[in-house]
């Protein structure tokens, strides 16, 4: 009745439709899968080893480059100068790392909850999503759902864990959502990530007072992020005459491209940490 070619084409179309339906069901109903834990446990040690190797090579190369560069000029004196330069560069790098970690520690001391510091060892393999892998996991008290912060503000949320590693969904990811409010006018809304560096502040009615320059903080009402943590700054507000909600663009305070260390807040929920407010 039907030729072989028609049957093949129909079969491919049916497969595509079935695949599409399966993906939409999985995407909506099963946002996380247990196989991720196994894959993270297997792959994360390689990622961690690679990241440490790159950092070691980068530091060694800068030492080597200075040594070779200086020793060309004058043997004895330049060798001493090269030695001093090498120590100085190491001290500068140590000082920079020290400053970064002191900044993190100072922030950590201001956070009234128990936290654990973690280092980022890998990022999302896709350029359309924003997740990172950190070197702390269930053995350190990290579980899915915990907020992840840096001194500049909210970085993301733990979405999947293994024994010694965890996957963090950054706030600028399209799947991320933070219940926030404008610090000045206390207008509530939802911060959602996108595929650029900006976020959007959704569900803010047109009549509410939001201006460029306003600071968005976490409301604590989503049960994930403690109240009062900085999220970003409003950089654009558009109100259409017939629109129910305003179109508000937010620039996050966190520079996600330069994240190296983060803090994971260990608590049962943002609402509890704020005394149930």
């Amino acid at each position: 009745m039907f030729s072989r070619r028609t049957v093949v084409i129909l079969g491919v179309v049916v497969l595509i439709i079935a695949n599409t339906l399966i993906l939409s069901v999985i995407g909506n109903r099963f946002p996380a899968s247990g196989t991720g834990r196994f894959a993270i446990s297997v792959l994360a040690p390689f990622q961690e080893a690679f990241s440490h190797s790159v950092r070691f090579i980068r530091d060694t190369w800068s030492d080597y480059f200075n040594l070779v560069n200086v020793s060309r000029q004058n043997a004895l004196l330049k060798r001493r100068l090269a030695e001093s330069s090498r120590i100085r560069n190491r001290l500068i790098e140590t000082e920079l790392a020290n400053e970064r970690l002191r900044h993190l520690l100072k922030f950590r001391q201001t956070v009234p909850m128990e936290v654990v510091a973690a280092e980022i060892i890998a990022k999302d393999p896709s350029s359309w999503f924003k997740t990172v892998v950190i070197d702390k996991g269930e053995a350190d008290g990290v579980v899915a759902g915990l907020p992840v912060v840096v001194p500049e503000g909210i970085a993301g949320q733990v979405v999947e864990t293994a024994k010694h590693y965890a996957k963090v969904l950054l706030t600028n990811d399209p799947n991320s959502a933070v219940d926030g409010l404008v610090q000045r006018s206390r207008v509530r809304g939802m911060i959602k990530g996108g595929t650029s560096s900006e976020c959007r502040f959704h569900y803010v009615p047109g009549k509410e007072d939001v201006q460029v320059g306003d600071v968005i903080i976490s409301s604590g009402m989503d049960g994930v992020y403690p109240k009062g943590l900085r999220v970003g700054e409003v950089i654009g507000v558009e109100k259409g005459p017939a629109d129910i909600f305003q179109d508000i663009r937010v620039q996050p305070f966190v520079d996600f491209e330069k994240l190296e260390e983060v803090l994971v807040i260990l608590h049962d929920g943002g609402i509890k940490a704020e005394g149930g407010s």
Binding site: Q47, K123, D124, N175
Partner: protein, 175 residues
């Protein structure tokens, strides 16, 4: 042993794809290296050898990614099926095929990712971002994809030669 080679290659590529991009910011819009390896498996290796590796690779990438589970697996399976279908008509070593196959993989992967985001209404990116990012990935895929594809083939051939020589030595010494 050949499956072990594939698994090591996949682990290496996944580590490069995730850990190297962390330290080299300019690689944010680099294309997915695993697409090249899926193309290699589809063009040059048998189905029984390549299919399980494609599935394992897709599962690993989905586990590490923040997108819906199944995106990478779907992309790789469809791309692998396309490669297997193409080699029925074309010589796998065809230069045009080697040149364009990584770019085809990038297109399929982006269609699956963006199509799913559009269906789930999951922060679908603005058209300019889609255009810029996809164009950057295609340029990288066209410029470096064929090189990686041929490199994978060459390395695996050397591995097969070395393994064959070792097995011959062992069997002759056991006699």
């Amino acid at each position: 042993m050949t499956h072990a080679f594939h698994l090591v290659a996949v682990i290496l590529l996944v580590t490069l794809q995730t850990a190297l991009r962390l330290h080299v910011p300019g690689l944010d819009n680099f294309f997915d290296l695993l697409v090249v390896y899926v193309a290699y498996l589809g063009l040059f290796r048998r189905f029984k050898e390549g299919a399980p590796i494609v599935i394992v690779t897709g599962l690993c990438m989905d586990s590490l990614s923040g997108g819906s589970f199944g995106l990478f697996l779907t992309s790789y399976i469809w791309f692998y099926a396309l490669m297997r279908w193409i080699v029925r008509f074309l010589d796998p070593a065809n230069r045009m095929l080697i040149f364009f196959s990584p770019a085809m993989g990038v297109v399929i992967e982006n269609v699956v990712h963006l199509g799913t985001a559009f269906m789930l209404n999951d922060g679908f990116p603005v058209l300019q971002v889609i255009r810029d990012r996809t164009a950057a990935q295609l340029v990288w895929a066209l410029a470096t994809g064929p090189v990686f594809l041929l490199l994978a083939r060459r390395i695996h051939r050397q591995w097969d030669k070395w393994l064959g020589a070792v097995m011959v030595r062992e069997s002759s010494s056991s006699r």
